[in-house]
Amino acid sequence: MNAKAIVVTSGKGGVGKTTTTANVGAALARLGERVCVIDTDVGLRNLDVVMGLEGRVVYDLIDVFEGRCKLRQAIIRDKRVDTLHLLAASQTRDKSALSEARMKETVTALLDEEGFDRVLIDSPAGIESGFQTAASAADGAVVVVNPEVSSVRDADRIIGLLEAREINEVRLIINRLRPAMIKRGDMLEVDDVLEILGVKLIGIVPEDEKILVSTNIGSPASLDDNTKIGAGTAFRDIARRIRGEDVAYPSYEPQGGFLAGLRRLFGGA
């Protein structure tokens, strides 16, 4: 993607915006980019805990907006990957403290003055001021969608709003895909979602218990190099695609589905 400031959004809550921001941000940083991830979910901040950086938040985004600290003082550097940084949301304020003008200034300062290569903006759920502020500073967007009815409908709405903001580089991540359900015909396939939403794909992330484990311990799954399949790898692939690499999509085969059951029954592999 050409965009330097990418908003991660979805409309619907709980589809994986924060997990995506943390994992893709960490993977981009691991690839050598200087990355700053920004949590704009004021009042309901979570990017700090998902990344395991909650103990180090002193100043937040609203402190920067309201001049209580310098931008540099609010940037938290990750100790695992030293090119990864977090700008936390305020937990005690509400979304009325956000400002599109301040947001744009802050993102411009990060890119032009603080030397960041990429800024990922984790948007709150919804289509109101929180989302609008997050999108205001972005020149590209990643829409996270789950293959289910309400998430796809909300994603369509968000895509319309991003287009209205003239954010032209919009890409789709299909998150929490369950291959066994697709095989049964009980979950939309990747091509179905792309046909319905009409946006370019940048990632397919399978449902993976490791994501919950990684958030339990506050360490993004994409930093675990030992995994060769699963969500962590999918997030690493997304980071490479954002950087313009042509990364093939692995085929996700169901574990323990009908065919696997048959094979087991007849003693096959």
């Binding site: 009815v149 697709i182 179905d192 319905i196």
Partner: protein, 78 residues
């Protein structure tokens, strides 16, 4: 389209529902309004042609970037 036990795949049903609801969402129409439009169209058509109340299909479709209102209204010559 039909699965192992003749059950229709639930994802096909979902795809159909999503396409319909998104066409209304994008056109900023409510499904209720479409029903109203259908009824009114029928009233107008009936002034000119003998017609029956069923078999009418009115929907909004996405043709590339454009929204198209498609009405399929079978009529008999008066």
């Amino acid at each position: 389209m039909f699965g192992l036990f003749g059950r229709r795949k639930s994802k096909d049903k979902l795809k159909e529902r999503l396409k319909l609801v998104l066409s209304y969402d994008r056109a900023k129409l409510s499904a209720g309004n479409m029903e109203e439009l259908k009824r009114e169209l029928l009233t107008v058509i009936k002034k000119y042609f003998p017609a029956e109340d069923n078999d009418y299909d009115v929907k909004v479709e996405q043709h590339g970037d454009r929204m198209v209102l498609v009405a399929n209204l079978p009529v008999q010559a008066p």
